[in-house]
């Protein structure tokens, strides 16, 4: 039987980790992920898990130890945020290329500088081309659910790629919410036992991991990573399907909220989608046809499916919690990718980008509403007056 608990997002992740009971966790504390590591250290100390916890001296070593442990055939998890992820950087790429099915809880926080401990998505957006599967979570429940599914996605023999599960630093990581926690046995049954095909501990069948790889093979190995990422599209949905049936949820590539008959929509990830839902309901009550699209799977990017889901709209606003500095119009990464997807798939509708919430700047329902009202005007005129807006910034 599942039960409802009051958990912070970090605690929800730690709970999932306890139920998954990985063989090795290597992690380094960093705000706002710290709570997860603390809770997990308690589970280890109290014998609630059989995990070996390596409390490393840096995030670089955290990811390095994760790679070593994963090559040894262990089920491996870690957690980090912002600068911690940045310090892991080099090994983040190596983990993907060595096809290590590591699961990471990434509690999104603004990258320095200036130093800031609060939420934005500059950390995850930097890893978007690193070869990791990336999932977003609106709240603690989704972070919990995504972590559980991530294990299955990562370890699928057709995938064998690391997965990062994102949630918003402080906004959900430290906010206590009602989370449905499934029965330990059900989670254990769902994630199953990891049976690696190869292990560096197989001393009778020695293998070489991570050799030098030059122009004659490197390219093909990168191509194989693409294959794995392509397989992940199918596997993510298969795992979601099984999860949905077992735990009565509704996960897919994204969530469409009151989108079917909408004229305009906002596309936004993580916790702000929750705020947007409230705004949508309010505007709907006024008879305005507005909807929301909340991407869950960011890597692999479901370009075709997103284009299809947005095709009928008269105007779309993307809300980006980070800036791709120097990119087209200094827009946000989600906007850049989504507009490319729309163009490639022949969807020619007015689209605008709204940068918001950098460094944890609060995003109010009234601000999200202003975005919708802008889009309703655009829907009427068919013209985007301002391609990229920095919402509520002092200029």
């Amino acid at each position: 039987m599942s039960k409802y608990e009051a958990l912070t997002g970090d605690q929800a992740v730690a709970t999932a980790m306890r139920q998954i009971n990985p063989d090795v966790v290597a992690a380094y504390p960093i705000t706002p992920q710290t709570e997860t590591v603390e809770f997990f250290a308690e589970y280890v100390a109290n014998g609630e898990v059989t995990t070996d916890f390596i409390c490393v001296e840096s995030e670089h070593s955290a990811m390095s130890a994760c790679v070593g442990a994963s090559a040894a055939g262990a089920r491996v998890m870690t957690a980090t945020s912002a600068n911690g992820l940045a310090l892991m950087w080099e090994v983040v790429y190596i983990a993907a290329s060595l096809r290590c099915p590591i699961v990471m809880s990434l509690v999104n926080r603004a990258l320095s500088g200036p130093i800031n401990i609060h939420c934005d998505h500059s950390d995850v957006m930097g890893m978007r081309d690193s070869g990791w599967i990336i999932l977003f979570s609106e709240n603690g429940q989704e972070a919990y659910d995504n972590i559980i599914q991530a294990v299955r996605i990562a370890e699928h023999p057709d995938v064998l790629l690391p997965v990062a599960v994102c949630q918003d630093g402080f906004i959900t990581s430290h906010a206590m919410e009602r989370v449905e926690v499934y029965d330990d046995a059900d989670v254990k049954a769902f994630v199953g036992t990891y049976r690696p095909k190869w292990s560096i501990l197989d001393v009778d069948n020695p293998k070489t991991y991570g050799p030098l790889d030059f122009y004659d093979y490197y390219y093909e190995h990168k191509r194989q990573q693409v294959e794995a990422m392509e397989h992940a599209r199918r596997v993510i949905l298969e795992v979601a399907d099984e999860f949905n049936r077992k735990f009565r949820r509704n996960y897919g590539l994204f969530e469409a909220y009151r989108l079917d008959d909408a004229d305009v929509a906002v596309v936004v990830t993580n916790s702000t989608a929750g705020t947007a839902k409230v705004v949508v309901d309010g505007l709907r009550a006024q008879g305005l046809k507005v909807g929301l699209l909340k991407p869950r799977v960011f890597r692999p990017f479901p370009a075709k499916e997103l284009a299809q889901a947005l095709r009928h709209l008269k105007a779309v606003a993307v809300m980006d919690r980070s800036i791709a500095f120097g990119s087209m119009n200094n827009a946000g990464p989600l906007f850049l990718e989504l507009t490319a997807a729309l163009a490639i798939h022949g969807v020619h509708i007015p689209v605008a980008d709204y940068i918001f919430g950098l460094g944890g700047r609060d995003i109010k329902p009234s601000e999200v509403e202003s975005v919708y009202r802008d889009m309703l005007r655009v829907a009427e005129t068919g013209r985007v007056e301002r391609l990229v807006t920095y919402l509520s910034v002092r200029e």
Partner: protein
């Protein structure tokens, strides 16, 4: 029954590092690796930092390693082997794999150990992973074309500390990494040289059976960087030992012990003059650097003798 450390017996053991690798003729690194792996009868798992040994023993789809081997990156071999070793302990403890007396070994050069990998090494030592870290120390970043490292001695010419008309080679003394590691109070730390193969092999055995983290700093001549003939490799590491530039000693559970004392302590000049990287020091205007280096060798040697209860 452990294999006796006599050539006749050791020659019967299959090589764990196969011939055909691409390390330079005259490189001491594969000699050191073979000596260390031959000293161990148990199964081993090896992790390798980026460096000469890594690039020259594995170019996909080839490998010279007949034991499980992993390369992750340059500065993280200690963290990588820590992950492997932890996974092993975890999986055994949970009954997921059978227990084997596997020895976990990390190889890194001086660049990957003295400099960029020092933090990961220190962390892994402090956490008490059961592994042997071997620094094959050729005193510069040889893999990338002879750049200075924290292990490069005073006055040495490297491509980033060139002997110029104003600045005559490296301006700083090398750091004493073996002492830094010993300060971690791990069960076994030693300095060794491949020219004293039996000493190195005995130290290896102590290291892998000490029940905790162990560290070997092994002087590894590089004929490309040191500038000497390929056949002089072992002679030059032995000269480093006999000049007391590279003393052989161990620190076992905090007890310092000299494992070899030269009958006659040779002047460091005897070692320097055989290597092209020090050639400029023999010009009259640079002689003072030889004196400074000698004074430093003497000072460290005296300190070591005191630590080892030899005086």
């Amino acid at each position: 029954m452990a294999t006796k450390l006599i050539p006749k017996e050791l020659a019967k053991k299959p090589d764990r590092l196969s011939p055909g690798h691409r390390l330079c003729a005259g490189c001491a690194a594969p000699i050191i690796v073979r000596q260390i792996l031959a000293a161990i009868d148990e199964p081993v798992v090896v992790a390798n930092a980026t460096g000469c040994l890594e690039v020259a023993t594995t170019i996909y789809p080839y490998t010279a390693w007949r034991v499980p081997w992993i390369h992750n990156a340059f500065e993280n071999v200690a963290a990588t082997i820590a992950g492997v070793e932890t996974a092993y302990r975890s999986l055994v403890r949970q009954g997921k794999i059978p227990e084997r007396d596997i020895k976990f070994i990390a190889f890194g050069g001086d660049g990957g150990t003295y400099d960029i990998g020092l933090q990961a090494l220190s962390g892994a030592l402090e956490r008490g992973h059961q592994f042997l870290y071997v620094c094959y120390n050729n005193e510069a970043y040889m893999n990338t074309g002879i750049q200075r490292s924290g292990a490069t001695p005073l006055g040495a010419h490297t491509t980033t500390s060139p002997a110029g008309s104003v600045i005559p080679g490296k301006q700083q003394m090398r750091k004493d990494l073996t002492a830094i590691v010993a300060a971690h109070d791990i069960p076994y730390v030693a300095q060794a040289a491949p020219s004293q193969w039996k000493d190195l092999m005995e130290k290896t055995r102590k290291a892998v059976n000490c029940g905790g983290p162990a560290f070997l700093n092994v002087l590894s001549s590089c004929n490309r960087g040191w500038r000497h003939e390929t056949y002089e490799t072992l002679e030059l590491t032995q000269l480093a030992v006999d000049t007391c530039y590279w003393p052989l000693y161990e620190v076992e559970n905090g007890v310092w012990r000299l494992t070899y004392k030269p009958k006659e302590k040779l002047p460091v000049e005897e070692w320097l003059k055989r290597q092209g990287r020090f050639r400029h020091l023999f010009r009259p205007e640079n002689r003072h650097l030889i004196d400074e280096l000698q004074a430093e060798v003497d000072r460290r040697w005296e300190r070591l003798l005191a630590l080892c209860g030899e005086k």
